[in-house]
């Protein structure tokens, strides 16, 4: 399969290793990856903060970039949720404003071809074992958008369970929000920190070396505190664990 | 009683509503027709046999710390006597229309003829029948009907003894609600255990203002 990668604006800038890992996993599984080079951002930050008008052109750009793709993989469940939950209505609003009615159809046609990374592996490819090796103690945090909006269910955990050498420990309160919430982390920094403190508590109680999730937004937030508190615990995106094998360890 | 003369506020609020709904409203079918379109995929009637329904009701009532005695028709009077003795209840209120033949001798009964609240407070308790009971939730439904009394009478005394016939027990809430439709306008009380609050540290405390003691005789 030829997979188009939508890396997302923040992964491209801050977490290129996640993208590299996605490429590594997909190529290891025998697929090829292309990267529409004009891609930028899905518009979630703007849309969720109340700047719906500013998000509209970003939808149009995204559709233009990925219109021809056989399949689109995104290592960020919140971005996929943005598209599934809001792109249809946004497309209707754009169409009403400038008469581009075909945009609604394009979005409708494109959405079923867009997958969050873990759901691409488990649901599209039907895999639970992707040949990974990662001999470390790991705990998994269920990002809210992946859990509730995308209903990823046990998919990510199944992928992790099949990683050779892994010691996967359950996180108490894994379904509780970590407190990132996009601009919420800045606008309500105090409450965000309080929520983070509970999440950190849970992570440290597992005595895991690594905390993983499907979203680097959560992990950036969790890692920020893990590092500040000198805990020695690190975070890694699910893709990076799955990319790890005997040939190239993380 | 005031007539429903149109008041300015009434007209303002209704016209606001109509304005709020107007773009789509003309396209909609009538309220009656639309109501029938509401999907109701939930369980409306149980498929438990009658004995299981009674067992379920008993279980749920006992969960609420309600004492439940099973009795055959001929054993009711004896069961009443047993319960009243155990509760040390000497003066019991009796609603109008209650089948007095069920009442054992040796206790004092007062017919509720619109007694003042303070006099109600002086009774040990009240004995009533009921309209129906819902097994799934352990609910007893009382209405203002013969044998069940007015609402104040089953509220103020500290003890309520309720006599339920097996045929009056339904399994589910929808069955209960639908059975009440013919008498839906009567003053109605759903009782699911003695009164309770969870306002102090989320501990369920029984017995705040309603009757603190509730006994049931289930006639099978």
């Amino acid at each position: 399969m030829r997979v188009s990668l939508f890396i997302t604006c923040y992964n491209d800038t801050l977490f290129p290793n996640t993208g590299k890992a996605v490429v590594r996993v997909l190529e290891r599984l025998g697929h090829s990856v292309d990267f529409p080079k004009g891609q930028t951002c899905c518009g979630q930050m703007h849309y969720n903060t109340g700047y719906q008008t500013e998000a509209m052109p970003l939808l149009e750009r995204f559709v233009e970039q990925f219109r021809q793709s056989e399949v689109v993989v995104v290592p960020s469940s919140s971005c996929v949720a943005m598209m599934r939950d809001h792109y249809p209505l946004m497309a209707t609003q754009i169409a009403r404003k400038n008469g581009r009615t075909e945009l609604v159809r394009e979005v409708e046609a494109l959405l079923p071809r867009i997958y969050e990374f873990s759901e691409f592996l488990t649901q599209k490819l039907g895999l639970e074992d992707v040949g990974a090796y990662f001999p470390h103690r790991v705990t998994y945090h269920a990002s809210c958008h992946g859990l509730r909006n995308l209903q990823l269910g046990d998919g990510p955990k199944q992928l992790l369970q099949n990683v050779r050498g892994i010691d996967l420990v359950p996180l108490i309160g894994l379904e509780q929000c970590c407190g990132f919430g996009g601009t919420f982390a800045i606008k309500n920094a105090d409450v965000s920190s309080a929520m983070l403190a509970e999440k950190l508590d849970g992570v440290l109680n597992t005595q895991a070396e690594v905390c993983t999730a499907c979203d680097n937004s959560c992990l950036m937030h969790i890692q920020g505190a893990l590092h500040r508190q000198q805990t020695g615990v690190r975070t890694l995106h699910l893709a990076e664990i799955l990319a790890s094998d005997e040939a190239g360890m993380q | 009683m005031e007539s429903s003369a149109p008041s300015p506020s009434r007209e303002v609020v209704l016209s606001r509503i109509r304005a709020a709904l107007s773009p789509q409203k003309d396209a909609l079918p009538s309220a009656e027709a639309s109501w029938l379109e509401i999907p109701r995929g939930y369980v409306s009637s149980g498929d438990l046999p009658a004995t299981a329904i009674l067992e379920l009701l008993t279980d749920r009532l006992r969960d609420y710390d309600v004492q439940v005695l099973h009795a055959g028709r001929s054993g009711v009077t004896h069961a009443v006597a047993k319960l009243l003795t155990a509760r040390r209840a000497d003066t019991m209120l009796i609603p109008a229309g209650f089948p007095q033949i069920l009442l054992p001798e040796g206790f004092t009964y007062i017919l509720d003829e619109e007694l003042l609240p303070t006099l109600l407070d002086g009774c040990s308790g009240i004995i009533t029948t009921c309209t129906l009971a819902i097994a799934e939730t352990g609910t007893i439904v009382l209405q203002n009907a013969p044998g069940q009394g007015r609402r104040a009478a089953s509220l103020v005394p500290d003890y309520h003894l309720c006599i339920i016939e097996a045929e009056q027990v339904v399994a589910t809430v929808p069955e209960g609600i639908r059975a009440l439709l013919p008498t839906a306008k009567l003053p109605t009380t759903f009782i699911s255990g003695p009164s309770a609050t969870a306002d102090i540290e989320m501990t369920r405390i029984k017995g705040v203002h309603g009757p603190r003691f509730l006994d049931v005789i289930l006639i099978a």
């Binding site: 697929h31 109340g50 | 509503i17 306008k185 003053p187």
Partner: protein
């Protein structure tokens, strides 16, 4: 805590209020405990329902249908209530509602009234209006009694005094009820409340209540409660005044079969709450001789007119969203500056204020969606939050610092060239703030201005030297692989 602290027109913004409350460890502990308990109970009684999702769907469609025909059902309710001997009044806003209630209480020669808990009466600030008119209101719900005696404010829809533990309540009762001694158990405290209030129930002839549901088909009113004080207030007095938002109406008696399953399980984690009272107008010999219903608009029609905000009116006031909310869990209800707190408060309060106040509330959420998951009538609260954020942004206009920053970022995202340039620029700009750790990884521990909120408790990893797209574009073509290059 002043009696008027929960006025959205004057309350502190959420971030400021939250900051103060986060420092109250007793409060936070009480809130965590209470919400954990209700959540667990709710989980158990919901899990045993094989048709829970069907009930939620019916609940949602029922409420949608009701709002679509709201005028029809309100008129039907009014007709049937009057035919049964009730009197129906309409109030455009809070002030009018207060005026009507005070007038009715005075007409009944009331020097005091007994009250059942009603968020609606709190919303319209009824108690101060009664007091000002020389009528003393007595709250009879245990939690509201606790709130009233303590000069406090409710912090949760269903368990208003959830922020207080037994010790605090005991101290309060001993002081305000003049009790030389009092047990420490919740049972002892409830007993004290029982004795204190019983006299009131048996003697005060005028009562004020809210309503859970107004039944259009019959003209009946339904009140859902636990303690029995509702039954007391609804049946013993001579005069009953019931205030209800126009969103409380339901089409038919049969619809109770859906709502009386959804509400108790969601609100208190019970299969059925202890008492539900349903009465229709006036019934000779049973209940009040004078019965009045005050139908309250107070901006509900504005919400109705907003097709995206309208679902806010579907709320049946169960409070499940508050128990599930990870933000509420940290702050409790007072941080929301309104009697409606938590997720529902974050969408209802600003809309009741017609977006003139409480603009910080739609942002008091990480959009995690836990509320939507538990809402018995499937209100998509995250969607409404985002919709209200848009309203706030539009209202604030295009020249705020945030709006300018957002437009700049949007402009960057609209162009590949500008995006890459911004990435390069960002790496340069952050350099002075970066410190390398022992492993040679760059971290930022301090960010200026509003961004400083991040670095309060978190470090920020420095931008890597190479973006993903740079790496992808510069790598050697992979060997093998799928459908060729």
């Amino acid at each position: 805590m002043s009696r008027h602290a929960l006025d959205p027109r004057t309350a502190a913004t959420f971030p400021i209020a939250a900051h103060a409350l986060l420092g109250d460890s007793q409060l936070r502990s009480n809130v965590r405990h209470a919400t954990d308990v209700i959540q667990n109970k709710r989980g158990m009684v919901v899990d045993e329902m094989p048709d829970w999702q069907e009930l939620r769907e019916s609940g949602k469609r029922l409420r949608e249908h009701t709002m679509q025909h709201l005028d029809f059902y309100l008129e039907q309710f009014e007709r049937n209530c009057i035919a049964a001997g009730g009197v129906v009044h309409w109030a455009r806003d809070a002030e009018e509602a207060r005026t009507i209630v005070v007038k009715l209480a005075k007409a009944a020669n009331a020097s005091e009234v007994i009250k059942i808990k009603s968020m609606t009466t709190e919303e319209i600030f009824l108690n101060p209006a009664l007091s000002a008119a020389g009528i003393v209101p007595f709250e009879t719900d245990l939690a509201e009694l606790i709130i009233q005696l303590g000069g406090d404010q409710p912090s949760h829809i269903v368990v208003p005094a959830l922020h207080k533990n037994r010790q605090q309540i005991r101290d309060l009762f001993m002081r305000e009820m003049n009790l030389p001694e009092l047990g420490h158990t919740p049972e002892a405290l409830a007993d004290a409340a029982r004795l204190y209030l019983r006299h009131k129930f048996l003697t005060v002839p005028t009562a004020v209540s809210g309503a859970n549901f107004l039944i259009a088909e019959t003209g009946g009113v339904c009140v859902v409660e636990s303690e029995g004080n509702g039954r007391m207030c609804l049946t013993l007095p001579e005069t009953l005044i019931t205030i209800a938002g126009i969103d409380k109406v339901i089409p038919r008696f049969q619809d109770l079969e859906v709502l009386l399953q959804l509400l108790p399980r969601s609100a208190t984690g019970e299969r059925m709450n202890p008492y539900n009272s349903i009465w229709t107008g006036v019934y000779p010999g049973d209940g009040p001789k004078n019965f009045h219903v005050v139908l309250l608009d107070n901006a509900r029609t504005e919400i109705l007119a907003d097709t995206e905000g309208r679902q806010t009116l579907h709320c049946i006031r169960c409070g499940a969203c508050q128990n599930a909310c990870p933000v509420y869990r940290q702050t409790g209800g007072h941080a929301y500056g309104s009697v409606y707190a938590g997720p529902i408060g974050a969408i209802l309060t600003p809309q009741l204020q017609q977006m003139h106040h409480a603009q910080s509330l739609p942002y008091a959420s990480s959009l995690c969606g836990a509320c939507y998951e538990v809402c018995p009538v499937k209100i998509n609260i995250p969607e409404v939050l985002i919709h209200l954020r848009n309203k706030v942004v539009v209202q604030n206009g295009p020249i705020t610092p945030e709006a300018l920053a957002m437009r700049t970022m949007a402009s960057i995202f609209r162009s590949e060239r500008r995006f890459r340039a911004a990435q390069r620029l960002g790496r340069i700009a952050e350099l002075p703030l970066v410190r390398k750790d022992a492993r040679g990884v760059g971290w930022i521990s301090w960010l200026p201005g509003p961004l400083g909120g991040w670095t309060q408790v978190r470090d920020l990893q420095a931008m890597p030297n190479q973006t993903f797209r740079d790496w992808f574009e510069n790598r050697a073509t992979p060997e093998g692989g799928g459908d060729g290059v």
